[in-house]
């Protein structure tokens, strides 16, 4: 029990440190999806930075936010939101989709 407590304390401390470090130089952006359409189909990302993208799902159904080139896959339940950490590459136009509806619900990250 002692061990487990110590273990979780270490993990929490690590996460605390990381969140503090993240908060310093990360850029916060947001995006939402409603009626299976992204609020913006072209999201500009600053090259080389860390972006914390909050994706709000305003539909009752869950989505799986996915960007294959960025190796991002995150399930977001209906009527809720999630934060996605993106390490922005140097350049590019990168597709992001709601995976189960990838032909219809999509947009692009524009790195500049």
């Amino acid at each position: 029990m002692m061990k487990i407590n110590l273990f979780s304390a270490v993990i929490l401390a690590a996460i605390g440190t990381v969140s503090a470090a993240q908060a310093e130089d990360a850029v916060a952006l947001s995006l939402s999806v409603k009626n299976h359409v992204f609020s913006s189909t072209e999201v500009k990302l600053p090259a080389g930075k860390i972006v914390l993208l909050t994706v709000s799902n305003e539909d009752p159904t869950s989505i799986e936010f996915e960007s294959k080139p960025l190796k991002i896959e995150k399930v977001i339940a209906g009527h809720s939101s999630a934060v996605i950490r993106i390490k922005v590459p140097a350049s590019g136009k990168i597709l992001f989709v709601d995976e189960p509806r990838e032909d219809k619900t999509l947009g692009y990250f524009i790195v500049e």
Binding site: I15, A77, S80
Partner: protein, 278 residues
């Protein structure tokens, strides 16, 4: 119906392969059916729970809960697989030659089965939670009756079971003499691939950021989201664009398990047993 079928089957591929491998690995071990079914049921129950709490998990740990959870679950599966392999190296040959002793050996055997049952459970849990969420989505979206959705899902599960059966039958074709080495190798690659995947989740959570440059990009040749790519991703951890850290972790786990399995194999004893049974 088709929507449900595709969703279920896509998520079932990984679990299907893993169940097939575990069945082959535990061939001839008494009581394995109960353990595997137990793993499946535990995984399913867990999947429903996780689906229900997606929101809570997701928003824990400053929004990185899902990543940390996935990383932890995969890390746990890696430990179970490594432990199983090392244990099998010590005792597997006796079991394969049906020299199973009563008492301690069997109890140990059950502990090893438990490790594999956990791996099955974890595979079902991770993929299953997504299935539950999306089926719920298909349902509340309307357009599909519950009956057609249930039929579609069951067909998807049946196809996933087909993947398990094919994997098992394929492995069963291997001569018993070689089966042990083959399954040990398979489990080692499976574990290395899971470790690399776990690393990716930690990177996404922002918990590790060393060596995070992309090592290669082979998405144009074989995308890891294609069917072949997915199968290879599960079996050997194929990734069309891993980070350098992921490659390092993969190699360390692969090398580590191989080395430990070799070091701990009691060669003289195995030879003695062979002589005794000859």
């Amino acid at each position: 119906m088709i929507a449900a079928l595709i969703i279920v089957f896509r998520e079932m591929i990984e679990a299907g392969l893993i169940v097939g491998i575990v069945m082959a690995v535990t061939r001839g071990v008494p009581g394995r059916g109960r353990w595997i079914v137990g793993g499946l049921c535990g995984g399913l129950a867990g999947a429903v729970l996780i689906a229900a709490f997606t929101d809570v998990i997701s928003n824990a740990l400053s929004g990185m809960g899902q990543e940390v959870f996935n990383a932890a679950v995969l890390g746990f599966a890696v430990i179970m697989l490594a432990w199983h392999n090392i244990w099998m190296a010590r005792h597997g040959r006796d079991m394969a030659q049906e020299l199973k002793g009563v008492g301690e050996e069997v109890r140990d055997g059950h502990r090893s089965l438990l490790a594999l049952a956990v791996v099955v459970g974890v595979a079902v849990l991770r993929e299953g939670a997504e299935v539950v969420l999306f089926l719920y989505g298909v349902m509340i979206q309307g357009g599909e009756t519950v009956t057609s959705m249930v039929i579609g899902s069951l067909a998807g599960v049946a196809l996933g079971g087909g993947v398990s059966t094919l994997t098992y039958l394929g492995l069963a074709k291997i001569p018993p003499r070689l089966l042990f080495s083959v399954t040990t190798g398979l489990i080692t690659f499976l574990a290395a691939g899971m470790a690399a995947q776990s690393t990716l989740f930690l990177e996404h959570a922002g918990l590790v950021s060393v060596l995070d440059a992309q090592a290669w990009d082979t998405s144009a040749i074989l995308s890891d989201t294609s069917l072949t790519g997915r199968v290879l991703h599960t079996l050997i951890g194929y990734n069309d664009g891993p980070t350098i850290l992921q490659v390092c972790v993969y190699l360390v786990v692969l090398g580590g398990i191989f080395t430990l399995t070799r070091l701990l194999r009691p060669a003289p004893r195995a030879a003695q047993l062979k002589a005794a049974t000859a």
